[in-house]
């Protein structure tokens, strides 16, 4: 029986599958910025020409591969870099995926699976902890469980001789500590982690009328708040008035009952019309989640570089003392972020620059608008500011 979203009982709506991606970026900007290349193990990371050459020799040593190997976020990469020549991949600042299978013994959950991926950029590492919750619970219990996983050490891990439980942030931290000596060598430390970015998606649940709009302040609205605000007492916290609209990420041609609900560092996807059991293509939401997570991680990486490059420009300085590869990366990032952000005027033209388009990515970039505009104006030909 199909329930409407207005009458939906979150305590009884059965959720069969949910996904949670926790995205972290480990900045190592100092190494790239230095004109004297540090003696790291994988020198290619700090040299654009060497990095570009790596694309041609992948997979390499069973450790590094192209980021879409394994199929995660395939659609994102396909649209982001339609031409996959090495020089084009470099122009897209496409990272290299580092295989953790030989390093991580196991990571998992009692009621789901956990997958950790690392993406190597010249200026740092992107770490993606992807949780697949596969258990039938009422919607409220699913939200509580996802909160547990995000906020508490719920993930069992086994790396080398060590084992324990960690939250996604803790697991990412552990992976960083393990990988730094392996990739860069001893004695190198990373900059501070930024706040993790989460993407939560209910991928399968009982049938819900997706043409029925989500009521403001209703139980479903609280669920969305719970999966983006990550507050333990989410059920008793009344969402702010108008937040359903203000947190709605713009989406083209979405049914009234679909929403990507977003805050500055989190997204929740509620697409009942695409649940596995009702969709024509069962993996629709799963793929959407992966693509959104991958796009979010790559955008996060580019924004970190943009913020770092913009800092001296904002202070009236320049990138004079930065290495050639840093300057090259900063300039490419300025262009790529503009392309990912898109322009309102692009919506009416057919030959818009090919890339992955997402309202979520656009909203994510908007938070770094000043820095991005700074480097676009300072480093690009025709580096026009981003649309508001």
């Amino acid at each position: 029986m199909t329930v409407t979203q207005a009458t939906l009982d979150v305590n009884s709506l059965e959720v069969c599958e949910a996904r949670l991606s926790c995205i972290h970026f480990v900045p190592l900007l100092g190494l790239l910025r230095s004109r004297t290349a540090a003696a790291i193990k994988h020198q290619f990371l700090l040299k654009d020409t060497e990095f570009a050459k790596e694309y041609d020799v992948l997979p390499k040593d069973d450790h590094t591969d192209l980021p879409w190997s394994g199929g995660y976020g395939n659609l994102f990469w396909k649209r982001y870099v339609p031409n996959r020549r090495a020089d084009q991949l470099w122009r897209g600042l496409v990272p290299l995926k580092f295989d953790l299978s030989s390093i991580i013994g196991s990571v998992g959950l009692s009621d789901g699976t956990v997958d950790a991926s690392v993406f190597l950029y010249p200026w740092g590492m992107g770490i993606l902890i992807d949780v697949l919750l596969k258990a039938s619970h009422p919607l409220t219990s699913t939200v509580d469980r996802l909160q547990d996983i995000r906020n508490r050490p719920a993930i069992d891990w086994n790396i080398g001789t060590e084992a324990g439980q960690a939250s996604p942030a803790g697991l990412a931290s552990k992976i960083r500590d393990v990988l730094l000596p392996i990739i860069y060598g001893d004695g190198f430390s990373a900059d501070d982690f930024g706040e993790q970015f989460t993407v939560a998606t209910i991928t399968d649940a009982a049938e819900v009328d997706w043409n029925d709009p989500i009521p403001e302040g209703g139980a479903l609205h609280r669920v969305l708040e719970g999966l983006t605000g990550w507050k333990a007492k989410w059920q008793s916290i009344q969402p702010n008035a108008g937040s359903l609209q203000s947190c709605r990420i713009a989406s083209a041609s979405a049914p009234a009952g679909h929403i990507v609900y977003g805050k500055s560092r989190s997204r929740t996807v509620w697409f009942p019309g695409s649940f596995r059991t009702v969709s024509n293509y069962p993996n629709t939401l799963s793929c959407y989640h992966q693509n959104l997570s991958m796009a979010t991680l790559h955008t996060e990486a580019l924004c970190v570089l943009a913020e770092d490059a913009a800092a001296p420009l904002t202070a009236g300085g320049s990138l004079l003392n930065a290495s050639a590869t840093y300057r090259s990366c900063a300039r490419l990032a300025a262009g790529l972020l503009g392309r990912l952000h898109g322009r309102k005027s692009d919506e009416s033209v057919s030959d818009k620059p090919p890339t992955y388009r997402s309202g979520s990515v656009r909203a994510q970039i908007q938070l770094h608008r000043d820095a991005i505009n700074k480097i676009r104006g300072g480093l690009l030909a025709n580096g026009t500011p981003l649309d508001a």
């Binding site: 020409t49 020089d87 009236g316 004079l320 290495s323 104006g377 300072g378 480093l379 030909a381 025709n382």
Partner: protein, 500 residues
């Protein structure tokens, strides 16, 4: 009886005494007076003659005997008296006609003293009267004015003097006028003419400056002689009138005013520099692209030091060749020659400099049509660094920025700026092309990360079949090199690499 006679006689004496007294008790007393008519005499001058009537009146009851008239003058005036001695009865009078003659040696105005001598009551007596002899009366007999236009005159634009004669007399006046000749100009002669009584006539006299003149104000003097005859007496006046006249060279003042030059003497030097500046502005031979050329504006001391020095050379050379000392006199032809020579020498100097520096300019001086590789090559030859200062400026009201391509020195007014130059690496389909691109890009990175040598960088880009493509980019910036006035610079930004 005798006593009576004595009394009568005494009374008679008393009456005589009373008659000789001028005024007694407020009542007029009878006496002799000497009158001069006319008095005074006006219009005296050398050769002047006049008649006067001297009247001796006897208002007494006594007869005057042996009456005679004499005259004397300390001013050299000659007097002739036409009457002899005679008697004047009681209550009678006698006139004496005298003629005054003013010799050239006489002193005017003068005084003539007349003395009438007579015997009365057996007593010899004299009475005196004076006559003033004056040169002019209240109205001058002849008046002359000289006028001329205030505009400068030149050989091509002669001027005229206007001589106006006013005859206040009631007889014709014959006038002759002659101008005193000057070294820089001549004034045409005019024939003598007659001015009717109580009339005014004017005559023009053409002023003709010479071929070469000393420009400035000259005083033209005209001698005027007026003669007339009245009652057989000749009258004459001699005038010398002067008038300042501005003499110049045709078109000189207009020319100097248009060019803003204070004197003809600085004309050739100024024209020489103006010609150089004109050729500079046209971009001939690319000389104007040099930023370190002195500006030499007309208001700068350097301009005048140079132009005056050049002018001195011009004037000396001209004097040596033609013998004409333009410091003293010159004419329109001299001005034309100086004009032509100034322009010719200026053009010759410019072209000589341009030809001499042609190769150097082509290899070192930035132009607005330079490609990015041209800019880098010239910067390298000028021993510039890859790291350049960045300036912000306004162009067409919009903010822009650019890398300075030169080191700015004192007194420099312009500087070349250019946008950032980006390098695109062409990575061909073949392995060989890819390897070459990779190799060059690696070398580029080594240079940027290392010593940032522009010489090495240029050598890298100039390799045959280099995979590097250079292009100007970065906004807001000018699309290509721009020769920017320093005054347009609004600020500076941090130094940066011009190529990356």
């Amino acid at each position: 009886m005798l006593r009576t006679i004595r009394v009568l006689r005494a009374l008679q004496i008393i009456l005589r005494l009373l008659s000789m007294t001028a005024v007694v008790g407020g009542r007029p007393v009878l006496a002799q007076t000497l009158e001069v008519h006319p008095s005074p005499v006006n219009g005296a001058m050398a050769g002047f003659k006049a008649r006067t009537e001297i009247v001796l009146r006897n208002d007494t009851v006594d007869k005057l005997t042996n009456v005679s008239l004499s005259a004397t003058s300390n001013d050299g005036i000659m007097i002739s008296i036409d009457s002899a001695k005679s008697d004047i009865p009681a209550k009678g009078d006698q006139s004496f006609t005298t003629t005054l003659t003013v010799p050239p040696t006489a002193h005017l105005p003068g005084v003539v003293l007349f003395r009438a001598s007579y015997k009365s009551s057996d007593l010899q007596k004299s009475i005196y009267a004076t006559l003033d002899v004056k040169t002019d009366g209240p109205a001058k007999p002849v008046e002359v004015t000289l006028d001329a236009s205030a505009d400068p005159i030149s050989q091509q634009r002669p001027g005229t003097l206007l001589l106006q004669v006013t005859n206040n007399l009631d007889v014709d006046v014959l006038v002759t006028a002659t101008a005193q000749q000057l070294s820089d100009m001549s004034v045409d002669r005019i024939d003598a003419w007659t001015v009717a009584p109580h009339s005014v006539t004017a005559k023009t006299m053409a002023e003709r400056p010479n071929f070469r003149v000393t420009p400035g104000i000259h005083n033209v003097a005209v001698d005027v002689n007026a003669q007339w005859t009245r009652d057989g007496m000749e009258g004459r006046r001699q005038f010398t009138l002067s008038k300042p006249v501005t003499v110049g060279v045709f078109f000189e003042s207009e020319l100097l005013h248009a060019l803003g030059i204070p004197s003809f003497l600085t004309l050739p030097g100024c024209l020489c520099l103006f010609t150089i500046q004109l050729l500079l502005s046209t971009g001939v031979l690319g000389v104007k692209n040099q930023s370190n050329l002195p500006s030499l504006s007309v208001t700068s001391p350097g301009f005048w030091i140079l132009s005056m020095s050049l002018s001195a050379i011009f004037l000396f050379t001209y004097w040596a060749i033609t013998g004409v000392n333009c410091l003293i006199t010159y004419g329109v032809m001299d001005m034309g020659i100086m004009w032509t020579a100034g322009i010719f020498v200026g053009a010759a100097l410019f072209l000589a400099y341009g030809a001499w520096r042609k190769d150097w300019i082509r290899e070192h001086v930035i132009t607005s049509s330079d490609s990015p590789s041209d800019v880098l090559r010239k910067m390298s030859r000028n021993r510039m660094q890859l790291q350049r200062s960045v300036v912000t400026f306004q162009i067409n009201g919009a903010n822009a920025r650019g890398f300075t391509l030169e080191n700015i020195e004192d007194a420099q007014t312009m500087v070349w700026v250019a946008p950032h130059i980006s390098v695109d690496w062409y990575i061909g389909p073949t392995q060989e092309e890819q390897d070459r691109a990779n190799e060059d890009q690696t070398l580029f990175n080594d240079i940027v990360n290392g010593d940032r040598s522009l010489i090495r960088l240029v050598a890298l880009f100039e390799k045959p079949a280099s995979p590097a493509t250079l292009k100007f980019d970065s906004t807001p910036a000018v699309p290509k090199p721009l020769h920017l006035k320093l005054e347009a610079i609004t600020g500076t930004a941090a130094d940066d690499l011009i190529v990356s």
